[in-house]
Every structure is written in C-alpha cells, then in structure tokens.
Symmetry: C2
Amino acid sequence: MFNKSLFFQKSEHNVRRFNSTLRWLLVSVLIGIVVGLISGSFGYLLQAVTAFRLSHAYLLFGLPFGAMAIVAMYHLILHEKDPGTNLVISAIHSDDRIPLRMAPLIYISTILTHLVGGSAGREGAALQLGGSIGNAFGEYLGFREKEDRNIMIMCGMSAAFSALFGTPIAAAVFSMEVVSVGIMHYAALLPCAISSLIARAIALYVFGIASPSYEILELPAFDLNTGLIISGFSILCGLLSIFFCVSLHKTSALYQKLFANPYLRAFVGGCAVLALSFAVGGIDNQTYNGTGTSMITFCMAGDISSLAFLLKILFTALTLGCGYKGGEIVPTFFIGASFGSMFGNLIGFSPSLCAAVGMGALFCGVTNSPITSLLICFELFGFEGTPFFLLAIGFSYTVSGYYSLYSSQKIVYSKYKSNFIDKSAK
Amino acid sequence: MFNKSLFFQKSEHNVRRFNSTLRWLLVSVLIGIVVGLISGSFGYLLQAVTAFRLSHAYLLFGLPFGAMAIVAMYHLILHEKDPGTNLVISAIHSDDRIPLRMAPLIYISTILTHLVGGSAGREGAALQLGGSIGNAFGEYLGFREKEDRNIMIMCGMSAAFSALFGTPIAAAVFSMEVVSVGIMHYAALLPCAISSLIARAIALYVFGIASPSYEILELPAFDLNTGLIISGFSILCGLLSIFFCVSLHKTSALYQKLFANPYLRAFVGGCAVLALSFAVGGIDNQTYNGTGTSMITFCMAGDISSLAFLLKILFTALTLGCGYKGGEIVPTFFIGASFGSMFGNLIGFSPSLCAAVGMGALFCGVTNSPITSLLICFELFGFEGTPFFLLAIGFSYTVSGYYSLYSSQKIVYSKYKSNFIDKSAK
C-alpha cells in the first residue's frame, strides 16, 4: 500500500519531533509539581491570613506600615523600582531577565498585603511566582535558547494561575495569550496544559484549594432582546475597563508626583486605605479590603451597593499605587460583578447574569485576552450562558482599545483591522 | 477629579473607534442573516437528500456519474481545477480572489455528493459558501482595503460553519484561528461572533437544524491513571490525523497520475466507492456513505466495527479524490469517534470518552486549531470532560506536526518553539 510506506516515513519524522518534545513534557511535569506546591501553600496562607484578618479587624491599623515594610524589602533585596508582572510578560517578548528572588519577594509581600487588608488580588503574585520559578528551571537545567526558556516561563505562569484561581483550562491558555495580543504561543500549549493540570491537582488535594464556581441564578433565554441588552452592557464594561486601567496608572503616577519618597508614599497610601475603610463602614466591615472574593457571591445575588464598583476601583488603585502587591484580577472580578449587579438591578434584567457577564467582560477588557476570558466564564459559571459570554467578550475586547493592566503587553495585531501593528499596550 | 477628565478624554478617542466599528457590526449582522439563510437551506436540503438516499439505496448506482457531473459543472462554470477551501484560506493571507460563483457550485455539488452517497462532510461547503458570500459583501459594499474584506470573509466562514455544524462558539473562533496557525485574527472576533450567533438562530428557527450533542456515557474521574491513558490515546490520534491527511493528499495524487482525464477519474472513483459500498455490506448498509453523522452515536456507545476508522478514511479519500465535494470534517469526527471506540473497547476504558476525545483530538490534528477543538468539544459533549479534552488536544496538536487538511494553511509560529516560521502546512 502506497499509504503505508509513506505513513511510516512521515511518522519516523514525527517520532524525532516527539523525542525532542519529550524533554518539555518532563520539565512541564516538574514545573507543575514545584509551582503547584509553592502556589498551593501560598493560596493556603492567603486564605488563612484573610480569615485571621476578618476576625482580628484591628490588623487594618497595620495598613500604613505594611506598605513601608514591602518597600523596604524590595529596596534591600531587589531594587527600589519593582517592574512586577510587567517583567514576566516582557521577558517573553524581549531579552529581559527574571530574577528568581522575585518569587519570595512577591510571596511575602502579597501575604503581608492581605494580612493588613490592602485591596488587591493574587494574579500578579501568581504570574510572578510561576514565571520566575519557570525561568529558573530553564536556567538551571541549562536550556540555552531563549525560546525554550520562554516556554518554561509560560508553564510556570499557567501552573501558578491554575493553582491559585482554580481554573486550569483558562490558566493553560492565559500565559500563551496575554503576552502578545494576536499571537498564540501554541508551542507552549501542551507543556502549559500539563503544568496547569498538575498544579491544580496539587492545590486541590494537598492544600484543599477548591475551584470557585458561581451559579447564574436567573438565566434568560438568549434572543434578540436579551442579546442586545447584554451587548449594551458589555460596551459599558469595555469603557469601565479603560477607566479601571487608567485609574490604576494615574493613581500610581499621582502618588509618585506628590510623594517622591517611597516610604512616605507607602505610609500615606496605607493611611488613605485605612481612612477609606473607616469611611465605608468601619474596619469590621471590610467589604473592600483584601481580594473581595467572598463579595462576588453577593454580587451574583444582586445584593451589593450600587457604587461598590467605584469604591473597589478606588480602594485597589490606592492600595496598589502605594507599594502593596498582589495583582488586579480578583478586584477586576469584584468590580465587574458589582457593576453587573448594579446594572441588572437598575434595568430589571437578571443581576446574576449581568454580574457573571461583567466579570468576563471586564477581565477581557483589562487583559485583552478574549479566549482566556471565554474559558474562565465557562469554568466559573458553567456552559449555559455561552452566547452571552461570547458576545460580551467580543464587545468588551473591541471597546476597550489598547488599554491594559500590563504596560509591557504587546498588541501585535490590530484590534480593528487584520494587520500587524506590534505596539505596546497603554 | 483627575480621573474623570482623563476618562472623558480617553473615551472620546474610543467613541471614534467605536463609530468605525459600527460599520462592521451592521455588515456582520447582514452576513449572519444572508449566510444563515443560505447555509440553513443548504443544511436542510442535505438532511432531506440524505434521508431520501437512505430510503432509496439504488441511488448509490449514481456514484460513477455524480462525480462526472460535478467535474463538468466546475469545468464549465469555474475552471477545471477547483482550489476549494484552500482558496478561502489563502485569500485571507494573500491576494487571491474568491469568485462568488464558488457558492452555487459548492452548494449544488455537495448536495449531489450526498444524494448519491459519496463519503464527505460539509465543512468545505460551509467555508466556501460563507467565505465567498462574505467576500462578495466586501466587494459590493465597496470596502477597498483588503484587511476589511478579510474580516468579511471570516464572518461568512463563521456564519456558515455555525449554521451547519450547530456549534456557534467554535465557529466564531474557527475562522480566526485556522488561517494562520499561531495568529489569532481578533479584529474579526466581534463580527464573527455576531454573524455566527445570528446564522445559528436562523438555521435553528427557520430550518430546524438543531445543535448536535453527544453524551459521554461513562466519564471516569480525571487522575494520573486516566490522564495517562488519554494522553497515550491522543498521541495515537495525532499520528492518525497525519495518516488521514496523507491518505487524502496521496489518493488524490494517485488518481491524477493514473487517470489524466478528469471525467474518467470521476467515473472510476465513483465506481470504486460503489464497489466498496457493496463490499462492506451492500448498498442498503450505507455505514460509510454520506457524512456518517448518525454513526457517531454508535461510536459513543462503543458499538462500531474495529476497522471502521480505516474504512471511513478509505471511503473519504476515494470520494473526495475523484471530484466529489463537501469537506473532511464530519468524516474526521466519524474517524476519531470510531477510532476512540475501538481503542476504548480494546483496553477496556470508557469507549464513550475515548470516542469523544478522539473526535476532538483528530479535529485538532487535521486543522491545527486547538482553541476551536476545545470549544467544539465543549459544545458537543458538555463541560465535564474538560481536562481530558485539554490534554488530548495538546498532545494531538504537538504530535500531528505540520500536516493539515488545508495545504494553503500557514503555520506562522512553530509548534515546537515560540518563534516565527511562517511555513505552509503539508
């Protein structure tokens, strides 16, 4: 048979490729295990610290000092200016190096942030932990080519994101998608999938970190009317994501302009967050302190203050601008969910669906990663609301322009025409 | 507030962008409606023709003549050599033009293929119908820039795929992903999503074409053991997808070498498919004639002959090589499902899950479109088997190398390193 001989000839060729891939697979398993253990312990500690803070509200008085301690730590160990998650992203599309000491620094400083009640997430921590450990694997295992080390950085990012967020599918894709918008680094697909699944298993079975899941309490049928409502809402989400990105960037710039000394900046910022905590209901309330994960359930029930999304933006911008660490994604979810809840209550259309759509659309708007956004919606809310999510993500992606949480993100292909532009995100 | 003024300044900029996007939205609605109507009627006719053939088995005696009629039609109306789906793909990454007369030709010839019982799918028809109509919209509405027309071609492809396959999410992403592997043409995201959802609604409500859905009868828990079994199986799927692509290419080449005259080739090919139909159980059996959609249910129950996947490859290669039209995707599903069923029965591990995984993995192997594959798995089988699908698609993507159903597909970024290669698929 002519096919058979050809088949063997070609498959031999593929076996060679498979051998070279084998190396990757082994390393991705290793990264999955190591990053899974570290991120799992980190997630466990975060939960413990958050529970402790909620029952010991006086810890919020540590807000002015926590940021100072973090600034001191970075000053002593890394260098004063911490590029953070941006470095992990830029390392993949440029020659920047990720130092391994980024990992313990972000680990400790994020825990500290959550101990004193700073309003921050944990995805910055996830990407920095995972990225720096993945990169270290690449360097210590003697991978010479930058392209090979890139795959390891992505593996580490996926593993940590998966362990901490409990969304392994979205995590596997996120690191391939977020670096260069319009390019999918599929060479990392299999390694990222493996690292992500292993890290998730470790986080779940060793550290008991479950995957989050929210129920859409009232899911209307998808038709012209409901589709148009969600389209309109997601245009607002796209605009809100610009507002959030700009708020973060500008608050940080304003801090630096007003307070040249980083310790003073940290102290004043901490005081501001503390004052704000008092202003919105006292330190026992803590609606806007920490990640706010637990608030999302209230949002899904349409049971949150109308201005919650603005307050969370303010809290997060003030927290992250003054030196606290953690990330912006869980706040993004909170903001999207509370914005959706407000919108749904306002127009009388399933606040629960709007909250879910708000989370997905805002995530897409601030990360420019539509596929990850779609997958994260499936993992958080199930598959039923799919057409709404697809539409919302499409609108938010388009409306949100070239803004991003990560200034080192590259927009390689235009959002508006199918051509190559390779510009940096705003 | 400093944020507010900035917000308005930036959002004004975005409103300008939004206006230019508005044009797209309107056109994507139009394309969704028109392509939805045409593809819906096409899908309806295909179902009718298939039912008619099943109850009038003697129609298979038309096999030697159907292909001749199709060759004659293409010779008269287009030109003798039909580039088919490859032209739709290459039109997006090159300056090739898609003639509108491609649409009626593929419409009629695919119906004819299924009337006489050729073993073929309908995705080639979907992509050609949608792509050529989308392109015609671009030309007639006076869109001058190639990038703009590209988006319209992609809209049309998504709309037709969605209407015919009943998987709107995968359809929206497929046309952005399949053209240039490693690049996501996200500029088309929102238009494709809109066209896809509208076309699906029309196919469903006007023509009654339901979305397919298969139940995984026995879903084992995802753990190290089951994960390794599925990994091993999907490596085989990756190799099988190479075998399928090579079989199609080589059968076509062999036909041309043996029978220089296209009418003779069509006649002999038709006779071969007819003879084969007799050989596998007579013309009343028809297991391998037509798309074989109905057979997939048997595969999901583990209830199909062990060699079914090889026979379907042979049937499809002989059918498409001699001049029949339609596409390779539904045969791909059949082959993947029957291969999985065989594998599951052989090793005593959920034939149903293996069949589902086989469909997703084989689709990924022959199209090099992992995200679409993942989404299509969710749409066909629900979200429960997700980790299996992710792993299987990762392995199949890696193992299947640079083979593809579409020789005009570009592999822009290497499958094995994160670097730019821009080579044509094999």
